[in-house]
């Protein structure tokens, strides 16, 4: 495989994300997993898709729809897939969501809103990175609000890929976000209008987005 050198990254394929892939969120949810409507913990990876209308460049503003006061910040390390359905690069992403209490139905109206995926400006070759040891830092208006440690995932990156590959084949350019963690209470960090959110990790340029949008 040739090394990939990407000056300026933009997703070329479908962007997938994994829910409940951090131990903390899993443990927060565990007492509810056997209740209705879930009736049992998830066996396969819980996945979702961020549609192309969500892609926002780093440095760009992300608009909150009217009526939405704040959004969840979903700091992710993401894998960019190559020709043979194996990761070739890593990029930072912010999987923005309208906070939702239920994981029963697909989260399209919470996650597929225009602009709701912050995309890091550069992808780094995967050879130089250990995804399962990566630590992301999330700050809002310059204040550190979260540390996302990929040593704390439920499925390590290779296991996640392997479990997904049992039923679908990643195409070149597709993206797999490896998961976003919650805070100790179970919520994710939040952003409101006017907030500047930055996600940083060693070796990466910061992924920065300001949250905007007209009125409440």
């Amino acid at each position: 495989m040739n090394a990939v050198h990407v000056q300026s990254y933009w997703p070329q394929g479908t962007v997938y994300g994994a829910l409940l892939n951090f131990k903390r969120e899993w443990e927060v949810w565990a007492p509810r997993m056997n209740e209705a409507p879930y009736k049992g913990g998830p066996k396969a990876p819980v996945l979702f898709i961020k549609t192309a209308n969500t892609f926002s460049p780093s440095g760009g503003a992300i608009a909150l729809p009217s009526g939405v006061q704040e959004v969840d910040i979903g700091a992710n390390l993401a894998w960019v897939m190559g020709e043979d359905a194996q990761p070739v690069a890593c990029v930072l992403m912010n999987d923005v969501s309208i906070p939702h209490e239920s994981y029963y139905r697909p989260p399209v109206k919470y996650k597929c809103i225009d602009g709701f995926l912050g995309v890091g400006s550069k992808a780094l070759e995967i050879q130089n990175l250990n995804s399962d040891a990566m630590v992301l830092r999330v700050s809002v208006n310059g204040v550190l609000v979260q540390r996302v440690d990929y040593a704390q995932t439920v499925r390590k990156s290779r296991a996640l890929l392997q479990d997904i590959a049992t039923f679908m084949t990643f195409q070149a350019g597709d993206v797999l976000m490896l998961g976003s963690d919650c805070l100790p209470g179970g919520n994710r960090p939040r952003a409101k209008r006017g907030d500047r959110v930055e996600i940083s990790a060693p070796g990466f340029e910061n992924l920065a987005n300001v949250f905007a949008g007209d009125g409440a």
């Binding site: 070329q12 209308n53 039923f167 679908m168 084949t169």
Partner: protein
């Protein structure tokens, strides 16, 4: 006009239906006629510059919702599929070993033709390029109640045949008034197993376009699969499944 995208003679071509044959429309083969069985049929969709958004509806026919023991939804139940799940007409879909319930879902698929943002129902058809048939297979063995229907059920390789044709919206509107006036059916090994009508959708095509375009901008080439009526049955390896919609054609698929 009915548009197809085919592989033939070592390359991919655009074609249209003409007197029961395929007529190639572009250089160097413009004017060349081919029989339907001389080509490999691909999804009848031009490539898109960014990932194609494929929205699919669950429980969008009252009878099917009842069949699955759900009450009809108050807002569209929608999930998203990746483009890699699509395959063309006359293709093979894999039925995994050991599963007990894999069923077809015959669905009207809407192909967006013009960027759609905050579109009102009354203008929705201005944003539609055409219609095609999709067979949105599901394997119920893999259903889980987390972001249900989950991707292991609905985003499987080979499990979304689509085609054969992309039929211009204006042709359907001229002939049938709207896409809400089409009979649809599924035939398994020659026997009709599913029979319905697009007028029985809970959320019709203009309502869906209005609903989605309120929060997500749809681009040309994006798809909305509008759900299936009742009459789904388990199918086995070797079965031939024909999903057919009035005015759009018959999409043939075989389980392998």
């Amino acid at each position: 006009m009915k548009h197809a995208r085919i592989a033939w003679a070592g390359a991919i071509h655009e074609a249209v239906e003409s007197e029961g044959e395929l007529l190639l429309t572009r250089s160097p083969w413009a004017g060349k006629r081919l029989k339907f069985d001389e080509v490999v049929w691909l999804p009848p969709l031009a490539p898109t510059p960014q990932a194609r958004t494929i929205l699919a509806l669950g429980l969008n026919y009252a009878d099917h919702a009842k069949e699955l023991a759900f009450k009809a939804p108050e807002e569209p139940l929608v999930f998203v599929k990746g483009e890699a799940s699509l395959i063309g007409h006359k293709a093979l879909t894999k039925r995994p070993e050991g599963v007990t319930y894999m069923h077809y879902e015959c669905e009207l698929a809407v192909v967006i033709g013009r960027t759609a943002k905050n579109v009102k129902k009354e203008n929705a058809y201005d944003h539609v390029a055409g219609y095609t048939v999709a067979n949105d297979y599901a394997i119920r063995d893999y259903l889980e109640n987390w972001y249900r229907p989950n991707l292991k059920v609905k985003n499987r390789d080979t499990c979304t045949p689509i085609g054969p044709w992309r039929v211009d919206a204006q042709d359907i509107h001229a002939q049938f008034g709207s896409p809400m006036n089409l009979a649809l059916q599924t035939i398994v090994n020659g026997k009709i197993t599913q029979s319905g009508h697009t007028r029985d959708m809970i959320f019709d095509v203009p309502t869906l376009i209005e609903y989605f375009s309120q929060f997500m901008t749809l681009q040309p080439g994006d798809l909305i699969l509008t759900g299936t009526p009742d009459g789904v049955v388990d199918c086995q390896v070797g079965d031939q499944i024909v999903t057919e919609i009035q005015g759009l054609g018959a999409l043939i698929n075989t389980l392998a």
